[in-house]
Amino acid sequence: MTELVDIVLGGIFHAAVLFLVAAGLQLVFGVQKIVNLACGSFYALGAYFGITAVGVAIKLGMPPALFFPVLIVAGLAIGLVGLPIERVLRTVYRRDESYQLLITFGFLLMFQDAFRYLWGATPRTMDNVYLAYGTAHFLGVRVPTYNLLVIAASLAIAAVLGLFLERTRIGRIVRATAENRDMAEGLGVNASRIFALVFTVGCMLGTVGGALVVPSGAASLDMAVELVVESFAVVVIGGLGSMRGALVGALIVGLMRAFAISLMPEMEMLSVYLVVVAVLILRPAGLFGKATA
């Protein structure tokens, strides 16, 4: 029983981070219709920058309890790189989607070497934060408090994002632009500003996800390309463009991986792809996607 709780909690922790990145991918796809292959790079960028930010925080003598908020602020701040990138992407909005995929692939390659230049090729770890928060008892198992904090933060971000999109004026405008860009522009919406906003928020979701995950693991050059396929799996399972889909997809992928790692390690990623293939064959639009051609 305790083992089961352990696996499930591990899976949910992974799902919490995965959800943030996938939500960024969904938001950008929903509004700009671009599948952003660089979403994994944003995630890695958040992770590397998080390490640097905590390093600065330690130098300034901040107490370890503040590291968690420091990581979130660092993630949000570095997410602003989305603004200049959106400026470049703007040139291909009306083009064929193969070009849109390729341009984000180009960004992914560039980020890869930017990380190598700035932070070196060896993985960077930071365990001082992870240990500083200690462990908690939860349903009879000891879990790192930090993991619970991340799960809570991810849920909070999901709620804020949902409220923003459903309840605020700008959220309504964003949804209208996603539905029909030309019509929204006809009604006086400044679509380029909405695009810039959406892309930056999408980018921030990825960087915050990366910043939150790094204390529990390491920032490495591989994390970007590996996470891309995982978050692809999430959005395909959940349905492209659907936020609810991102949540459910992230839970499925997170739990699948957690169970596979403890039961059949060689099936770790294979199991995820099998689910993806099964979903695409049975429900090509994903669990929550709109039916499209």
Partner: protein, 319 residues
């Protein structure tokens, strides 16, 4: 006469046939991956340029070809390259029939994502099942027999001598076959599907079967290209099937110009030479290649061959 004809391909083959007389072995060794990628790209572009389906998992078939060569040579001791080629083509065809019948029902981004998922499925199989595939170590590919003959001498002598001409012959055969395929009624069907699938179906084109046929042909080309890459490096490793490698294939096709027949081959040539050149300049070559890709997409979406063609057709009109 436009740039888009088999004569550009024939000229390229002619130059490459004379290359061993003047070029250093290093340059010839660089030409082998170019030939491998070119063959794979002829197939890839039948799917992408002609049929309008963007596969983001096409490196899967490079992996199939490479691992076929590895398993046959180092596990079964079958060294005849002709048998390896036939086996790689057959296995690629079989795999692509299964995958293709699931994938070609979708178009656009869904097709891309589904092929990516299958590519990564294959990659994680290669990566995790050590007993069968050697895991991240990969598998050795032994020196094959060409035309049933054993070739003595060092590795470089073999690769730049007999194998170079063998690969070049394959390049010529597959290239000219692809030209025939594109110019055939079948090719016309595929272009009709790309332009307007609904209309094509209305006039009697069997969309599903045509798309599947294009997918299978492109996979066979990928498998053949993969065997050449594997013999060149002497190794089949999982990275061959990784999704970024598929991304590189798309990069090459667009670099050369996916709207033209020879474009992808030119793209492969420029990519291989450029990557080698930039790698010699800086360890941050990915950044440079990424920046080139971004600029290419923004300023030259027709690719090299497409831009030259556009230039000629404009001049033709002015004259």
């Amino acid at each position: 006469m436009g740039i888009d004809g088999p004569w550009v391909l024939l000229a390229l083959i002619g130059i490459m046939a004379l290359l061993p007389l003047v070029a250093a072995p290093y340059v010839l060794l660089l030409m082998l991956p170019f030939v491998g990628y070119s063959i794979a790209l002829f197939g890839f572009n039948l799917l992408f340029g002609t049929t309008g389906l963007l596969s983001f998992g096409h490196a899967l078939f490079l992996g199939v070809g490479a691992y076929t060569a590895a398993v046959l040579t180092s596990k079964f001791g079958i060294l005849s390259f002709e048998i390896i080629l036939v086996a790689a083509a057959l296995i690629s065809a079989l795999v692509s029939m299964i995958i293709g019948s699931l994938c070609v029902r979708y178009t656009k981004i869904f097709f891309g994502m589904l092929t990516l998922a299958f590519g990564m499925l294959f990659h994680s199989f290669l990566f995790k099942f050590y007993a069968v595939t050697g895991g991240d170590q990969g598998m050795r590919v032994l020196r094959p027999l060409l035309l049933g003959m054993e070739w003595r001498g060092g590795k470089t002598a073999f690769l730049t001598g007999a194998f170079y001409y063998y690969a070049l012959t394959l390049f010529a055969l597959t290239g000219l076959t692809m030209w025939r395929i594109i110019r055939s009624p079948f090719g016309l069907h595929l272009r009709a599907i790309r332009e307007n699938a609904g209309k094509a179906a209305y006039v009697g084109v069997e969309i599903f079967r045509m798309r599947l046929a294009a997918f299978v042909i492109s996979a066979v080309y990928g498998g053949i290209g993969g065997t050449i890459l594997a013999v060149t490096t002497g190794l089949a490793d999982p990275e061959l099937a990784y999704w970024t490698h598929s991304g590189n294939l798309v990069f090459m096709a667009v670099l050369g110009g996916s709207g033209t027949f020879v474009g992808p081959a030119i793209g492969a040539l420029v990519f291989v030479v450029l990557q080698d050149f930039v790698m010699g300049l800086t360890q941050y070559w990915r950044f440079v290649m990424g920046a080139i890709l971004v600029c290419l997409v923004i300023f030259m979406p027709q690719g090299l061959a497409g831009t030259i063609e556009l230039f000629f057709s404009r001049r033709g009109r002015e004259a």
